[in-house]
Every structure is written in structure tokens, then in C-alpha cells.
């Protein structure tokens, strides 16, 4: 378990997560959760760890159980309680065929969407690179 300070979370821009960033993360959370279950069944804490190690989706931990609850009600995942060696049972989730279908459609949309967006923001990347190179050469010129 890692507790991050506010300063550590501030990231590249030096500011706390902005509203648009939160909306972007929130919008991709359902797909992220379904994706963690693509190959295997997992319980809540495993899903959370996988989400945070694989995508940096930071979330209030209880929220994941609310979302799993909703996905289960929508028939996209199914769950079963399994006894564990640690002394308390764990609730494992797996994708249903409907969940797999939904995930594949989400991934298809996401891939097409990000490809188009990448094209759109390519000039911004280029501009950043040029700015960065310009600063370096001015520093070396000094």
C-alpha cells in the first residue's frame, strides 16, 4: 500500500487534477474495470490494484464496488463468493458473454476515437518538441 502526498499527486503540471482530467478518467473507468476481467476472474482489491498499476486510474476504493454492483445488475459481470486461505471470503467477478461483447465494442470505439484524436493533436506535439528544442539551443548558445 502506498500513500501519496498531495504534492506527489500533483504531477507534471504542478496542479491538482483538473475537472476535465477527472471526467476523462471517470469516463474510461467502466471500460478499465471490464478490461481487467478479460482473461481472468478477479476480486475487488485485485481489480483495483490492476487498474492503478496498469492505467493510473486513481479512485476512491469504495467506488469500485458500486460500479461492480451496477455492472452485475446490468448483466455484464457475474460474481461468486470463494473462501480464501486468509480467513475471509472473497467475491470474485468474471465477464459474462454480454460483458465481453460490451467490452469489445468499447475497445473498438476507443481505438478509433484515440486514433483520430492523435491525428488532431499531432501538431500540438510537434509544437511542444520545437519549443523544447528552441529552449535547449538558446541555453547552449548562452
Amino acid at each position: 500500500m502506498v500513500l501519496k502526498t498531495k504534492g506527489e499527486h500533483e504531477g507534471r503540471t504542478g496542479s491538482v487534477a483538473e475537472p476535465w482530467e477527472g471526467q476523462l478518467r471517470k469516463g474510461s473507468l467502466e471500460m478499465g474495470i471490464l478490461a481487467t476481467l478479460w482473461k481472468e476472474r478477479l476480486y475487488g482489491l485485485e481489480i483495483l490494484r490492476k487498474l492503478n498499476s496498469g492505467s493510473g486510474l486513481v479512485m476512491l476504493e469504495g467506488t469500485i464496488y458500486l460500479i461492480l454492483n451496477r455492472l452485475k445488475a446490468a448483466g455484464l459481470v457475474e460474481a461468486e463468493w470463494v473462501e480464501s486461505g486468509s480467513g475471509h471470503p472473497r467475491k470474485y467477478y468474471r465477464l459474462t458473454p454480454a460483458g465481453e461483447d460490451r467490452l469489445m465494442r468499447m475497445v473498438k470505439f476507443w481505438s478509433e476515437f484515440t486514433a483520430k484524436l492523435d491525428q488532431l493533436i499531432a501538431p500540438v506535439h510537434q509544437g511542444r518538441m520545437e519549443n523544447s528544442n528552441g529552449k535547449k539551443s538558446s541555453v547552449s548558445g548562452d
Partner: protein
Amino acid sequence: MEKNRVFPEIEEYLTTLRRSCAGIPVQECEEFVNEIRSHLMERVEGSDATTESVTAILEAMGRPQQLAAQLKTGHVWKKASASFSPNLLLRGMFRLALTGIIGFVAFLAAVAGYGCGIASLLTVALKPFFPSHIGLWLSSGRTLTLGFADGGLENAVTYGISLRSPGLFVLGTLGPDGPVRDFAGPWIYLIALGAAAVFLVVTTLFSQRIIARWGMRRGRVPRRATMNPRYVG
């Protein structure tokens, strides 16, 4: 760490969570509480189990009242999306109104829709008791009102579902608008019943659809509940 050790902070958290779940089926609440318990215990086992670390673990989980409120919202949406009860649908729409501007506008539309349905039914119910005051009223200023007209017909104020050219619509009154005449006569019963059926059916289908689309499927969760800048597990 000693197995089956009891942590008062965790027990207190779970008790608050269970108490805040009142209103949803006991089995659903217990299953949620058990899952949260399993999560917390595994977190504590992976820590040094000091008071500070347990407090941090509970904080990372989120406030129990907030979790329970969202669980209840999910439960209301699930029931409402397949229900024909105006009470349940309006409760679902009210919870949706708290999630953003679209939900708020949809809630107002549902209130207006059910309000018009009730006004139409009241028109039918009150016509036998106030035959000269209940009707479909057309004023000289081109205001059409289904409902009640007070005072004399020369300059009556009408109350109910009012339409005024060009495109003004209110549930209530648009104020005095010159002399009025009853436009429907005995057909008022059929007209008002038809209007009530249309308003109630359309509002019910609209509310079910909105809740299913914006509530259940999109899983609207307040931003503050998803983002926790202090913790990465």
C-alpha cells in the same frame, strides 16, 4: 498479524455503512457490507495494522454514508427503470437531478409532465362539482387553458395547463387575458382524459428511458466519489 483480530474502527465503519443502507433490501445491503469487510480486512493484513494505517485505509475507502447513498441511488434507478410508479420514477429522476444539469432539466420535465397529467385528471374529477368553472377555456387574447376559470367570464383568470400563442406554455396561470369562452362543452371529459393519458404515458416512458440511459448505463457517480488524490493502492 493475528487472524480474526477485531478492529473497532472497522466495525464502527461497517455498522455505519449498514445503518446508512436502510431502504434497500437487507440481502443486497449485507452482501455489500461483507464485500467491503473482506476488502478492509485484506488491506489491514497487508499493513502494520496500527491505528494510523487503519484510519488511512478507511479514509481511502470513502465515507460510509456516501457509499450507502450511492448504493441506494443505484437501487432506486434499477427499480425505477422498469417501474410504472410515478413516485418511484420521480425519486429516480430527483437523484439523477443531483448528478448534473442534464439530470436536473430531465427532472423538471418529468415534474411538469406528471403535473400536467394530474391537472388533466383534476379537470375531469371537478367538472361535475363546478360545471361553470371547469372547462377548456379560450380567451380573446388567444390563451387556451384546460382547467379552472375564476370570476366572471368577461375577464377571468384561468388556472391549469395554459398555452398562449406563440409557444408560451405554463402549468399554472398566465393571468387575466380578456373574456373567455368554454371551447369544449361536454367534450371536456374526453379531451381531459385523453390529455391525462398522453401526459402520464409519455412522462413515464421518458423517465424510464432517461434513468436507463443516464442513470443505470452511464453509472453517474459524483466526481468527488471517484477521485481520491491521496491514495494509490
